[in-house]
């Protein structure tokens, strides 16, 4: 099996591009834009392993790399195909001498939008990686039935993210759904073993009395003319149906006889009954259970939500910052430092003005995500409106990180700054009170520092972070 790394966004034709090794590919976060695998018979294991090592790589450029699969004759199994963005046969490839994948283009464009992507970027959270995979390809994750794991279904596209073949993918998707990053849609309902959750169950009809599995199923016959009702076998004589009561031949079903129902006869205790007791035996753990105890679960297909799309770009918890960024024009830390420097110089020069630096720290911000999900965006927008109303256009706002904000309030006394911050605090706390349940509190701590020539921004920022630690 060969692997080809594609470095240009231009076309790819197999013989024209250079062969690569998986190690080379994994080491190169800059030049390789996509990879093409040439699948040959009997290399399923190796292929899977390579895809795994790409998807499990921490760097977004590697693990989000568009992957294409080219095969000769034997088509790889569907579950494997679905791990790739493209899957074409060699013959197809020959017909279209230059195959340019719009999808590959799309992915590289999406990667360009990711902020702060450099050689040292690394994503460790698997749910986040899944989110990014979905966002970069605008992908809907559909489950596929499989005998390969005990749950009986997989999401093939995200399988390579996991080292082991277990429930992890389902748990990760469930987590993403709870956070409202992905929406889900009913796909299938399935029965699982109450003991080990395996989907591989044997449904057995058993005798209602002795529990034996060896049942014989027989049809009942009702002869209209004489009203006789008996098992089909009692009517059978020399390949004809003869009524044992009146010795008449039964010719046409529906005209002179019918089959009103079916009965089971237990071959062990000879009991006859119509509704056998349904039992379930698990192929995996061999435990037996009554049909009522079987777990019934829904299996879903997942699709990215608007919040998820945002989170994929800015990180699972950067939503707030991104909203403030667009609404309030946050300045970067570097810019903020420059402003402070200028302000300090101005105050020192004219000795007329008083300005302040305020720090705001939100405790527990990530819990809002978990609690509000989809509504988080709305709440954050409202908070940013509060920010807007409290601060003036002449104020400079910057985010130290997701939870800590620093604001340079020009021409504001410490007293007035505190007043403003208290207003902000009350307004935001009211918002939280209206949106969050009581047990979930989002604390807001604020501090105000007057600026003079001796002010040290680094110290202030340190203090702001200290508040956080307290």
């Amino acid at each position: 099996m060969n692997i080809y790394g594609i470095t240009t966004e231009a076309s790819f034709v197999l013989p024209d591009i250079r062969t690569s090794s998986i190690e080379q590919l994994l080491a190169d976060t800059q030049t390789t834009k996509a990879a093409v695998f040439h699948f040959q018979q009997g290399e399923k294991g190796k292929l899977h392993h390579w895809v795994q090592s790409i998807r499990q790589h921490p760097h977004p450029r590697i693990y989000l790399m568009p992957l294409a699969l080219v095969f000769d004759e034997e088509k790889p199994p569907a579950s494997l195909q679905k791990q790739f963005d493209e899957c074409i046969s060699v013959t197809q490839l020959g017909h279209t001498s230059t195959t340019k994948s719009a999808l590959f283009e799309r992915i590289s464009q999406w990667l360009e939008r990711v902020p702060n992507l450099d050689t040292h970027s690394s994503d460790s959270s698997i749910p986040f990686k899944i989110l990014r995979l979905m966002a970069s390809r605008n992908k809907r994750l559909e489950p596929m039935l499989t005998p390969a794991n005990t749950r009986g279904f997989v999401y093939p596209a995200v399988e390579p993210f996991f080292a082991r073949n277990d429930d992890s993918s389902i748990n990760s998707l469930d987590f993403l759904h709870k956070q409202q990053f992905v929406g889900r849609e009913f796909f299938k309902r399935a029965h699982f073993c109450p003991t080990c959750e395996s989907a591989f169950l044997n449904f057995i009809e058993t005798c209602t009395d002795c529990g034996a599995e060896n049942l014989k199923k027989e049809e009942l016959i009702h002869h209209f003319k004489c009203g006789h009702v008996d098992n089909l076998s009692h009517f059978e004589r020399n390949n004809l149906l003869i009524c044992p009561k009146c010795d008449e031949r039964l010719k046409h079903i529906g005209v002179d006889y019918d089959k009103p129902s079916i009965v089971y006869q237990c071959q062990q205790c000879t009991l006859q009954f119509q509704d056998p007791l349904l039992k379930v035996q698990c192929y995996t753990c061999e435990s037996e259970a009554s049909i009522d105890d079987v777990t019934v679960e829904d299996i879903y297909a997942y699709e990215l939500s608007a919040i998820g799309l945002n989170a994929a770009l800015y990180g699972l918890d950067a939503l707030f910052t991104s909203i403030l960024q667009t609404d309030l024009q946050l300045y970067s830390n570097r810019e903020f430092k420059s402003f402070i420097h200028i302000e300090k110089a101005r105050i020192a020069r004219y000795k007329k003005s008083t300005s302040c630096v305020a720090t705001i720290y939100f405790e527990n911000l990530d819990s809002i995500f978990q609690r509000l999900g989809k509504r988080t965006e709305q709440l954050f927008k409202e908070i940013s409106a509060v920010f807007k109303s409290v601060f003036r256009e002449s104020d400079v706002i910057s985010a130290l990180n997701e939870s800590v904000f620093v604001i340079l309030m020009t021409e504001t006394s410490e007293e007035n700054a505190n007043l403003a911050l208290n207003r902000l605090k009350t307004a935001i706390q009211d918002l939280f009170a209206a949106n969050l349940a009581e047990e979930l509190s989002v604390g807001i701590s604020t501090r105000v520092y007057g600026i003079d020539s001796s002010s040290d921004l680094n110290l202030m920022l340190e203090n702001a972070l200290k508040v956080k630690e307290e």
Binding site: F224, G227, C246, V255
Partner: protein
């Protein structure tokens, strides 16, 4: 016409005139229903007293053997009655029985109710025929799966007195020639309406008293579908029930043809709900009465022929049935024509006197019947006897009119084959085969 005129008319009657004017009452109804029936009931009561020891021994044998009894309840859309029926069976004095419910193609929630009861263990077996096959096929399905030595057939909308199973089984142990035992059917909803009061009196007279008398004579010809017990081996010989309507009378005759005795157990009591309205009652009787013509006069007329299985009691059973029910039913037409011809001026007097005669006859019959059933009688409010004055109208006019109409329709048009009581597919075959 006046009261004095009436007295004068009565005083001037000679014996010949009495017979001439009131022959239907004195020669037929009084003789048959009052004198002979009362005598037979006294004979029954006397014998019962005499055979008390035998009865005690039979009971001992029954409980020593404790055979399995299959209680079979076929029906369509009867689910709502089943829980009450199952409960009424839970406190039987004889309790070695299995309760088999057959759902004959119900289109309501019967199957759901029954499966629930099956799970709770309130019923023992449940079979559902997806397609309706009629009462006979339902009963035969139940018979097919029954395991009992005796089969008790009851209707879903009835319930049994506490000792009913014990009482209905005793005759099998008193006389081994008995192949089937009829249980007594009494009215459960006695105080529900005017119609049910009259039916209560009618049931006591015709079922409780009438069948004891017939049983004493050895000519009992019907075992109610609502309550009857059969020996399983006997049912197997006749291959169960044939297509109805009137299949209960039919199977009784088939059992008689085999030479078994059929008796009535008056103290094996089953309470059944009778129609509340006269319109429903009329429809019910119309169906019952037609079946008499169909089975007695068509299907089983061969019992009158001196064949190998000829039995005089069966012969008389049928003759009595035909004569008293069919032939004598038409006597009142003859009687009215005859009276119009012989005594047109006295029609009013004759009518009033007839009414009194029948009223008194009803009182005597009721008193005798009431005495007969007193050990197993369940009083509701004691008001029913006050409806006795209406009985001559009820039996003499209302029921007679319905019956005459039914006989005529069946004779002329064989309307019973069009009865929706059986599924169409079955009726079609029955008509074609002249069953």
């Amino acid at each position: 016409m006046s009261l004095t005129g009436l007295f004068a008319f009565v005083q001037n009657l000679t014996l010949a005139q009495v017979l001439a004017y009131f022959w239907p009452f004195f020669l037929l109804d009084m003789l048959r229903y009052v004198i002979i029936e009362s005598l037979l009931i006294f004979k029954f009561l006397f014998n019962r007293k005499r055979r008390e020891r035998e009865r005690a021994y039979a009971r001992h044998q029954l409980f020593a053997e404790r055979p399995i009894v299959s209680i079979i309840v076929p029906g369509k859309n009867e689910g709502k009655h089943i829980p009450a029926l199952a409960n009424s069976l839970s406190n039987q004095t004889y309790n070695n029985f299995e309760l088999i419910i057959v759902d004959d193609g119900s289109d309501d929630n019967t199957a759901m109710i029954c499966r629930q009861l099956l799970k709770q263990g309130k019923i023992d077996r449940f079979f559902r025929n997806e397609v309706r096959g009629g009462k006979a096929s339902g009963a035969n399905t139940a018979l097919r799966f029954s395991q009992g030595k005796y089969i008790i057939h009851i209707d879903a909308d009835s319930h049994l007195a506490e000792d009913a199973i014990e009482q209905i089984l005793l005759p099998f142990y008193l006389d081994e020639r008995v192949g089937a035992v009829g249980g007594d059917v009494r009215v459960a909803n006695e105080d529900d309406s005017f119609a049910t009061r009259l039916q209560t009196i009618e049931y006591i007279k015709t079922i409780s008293a009438g069948r004891v008398a017939a049983s004493e004579l050895g000519i009992l010809r019907i075992i109610s579908g609502a309550h009857g017990a059969f020996r399983k081996d006997v049912l197997a010989q006749v291959y169960g029930w044939d297509v109805g309507p009137g299949l209960d009378g039919d199977i009784t005759l088939k059992i008689r043809k085999l030479g078994y005795r059929v008796v009535h157990a008056v103290h094996a009591v089953c309470y059944t709900n009778v129609p509340l309205k006269f319109a429903n009652l009329r429809r019910q009787r119309y169906r019952w009465d037609r079946s008499l013509v169909r089975f007695r006069l068509r299907k089983h007329l061969n019992m009158l022929a001196p064949a190998a299985n000829f039995r005089s009691s069966s012969f008389f059973s049928i003759i009595e049935n035909i004569v008293f029910n069919v032939f004598f039913d038409f006597k009142w037409i003859i009687y009215v024509i005859y009276m119009l011809y012989t005594a047109p001026h006295y029609l009013g007097y004759v009518f009033i006197i007839n009414y009194f005669l029948y009223f008194i006859a009803n009182i005597i019959q009721f008193v005798v019947a009431r005495a007969l059933i007193s050990p197993s009688y369940r009083a509701i409010d004691g008001l029913t006897p006050f409806f006795l004055p209406l009985m001559p109208f009820y039996t003499g006019l209302y029921l007679r009119a319905v019956r005459t109409y039914a006989y005529l329709m069946e004779f002329l048009h064989k309307t019973s084959y069009d009865d929706p009581w059986n599924p169409w597919k079955v009726s079609r075959i029955a008509k074609k085969e002249k069953l």
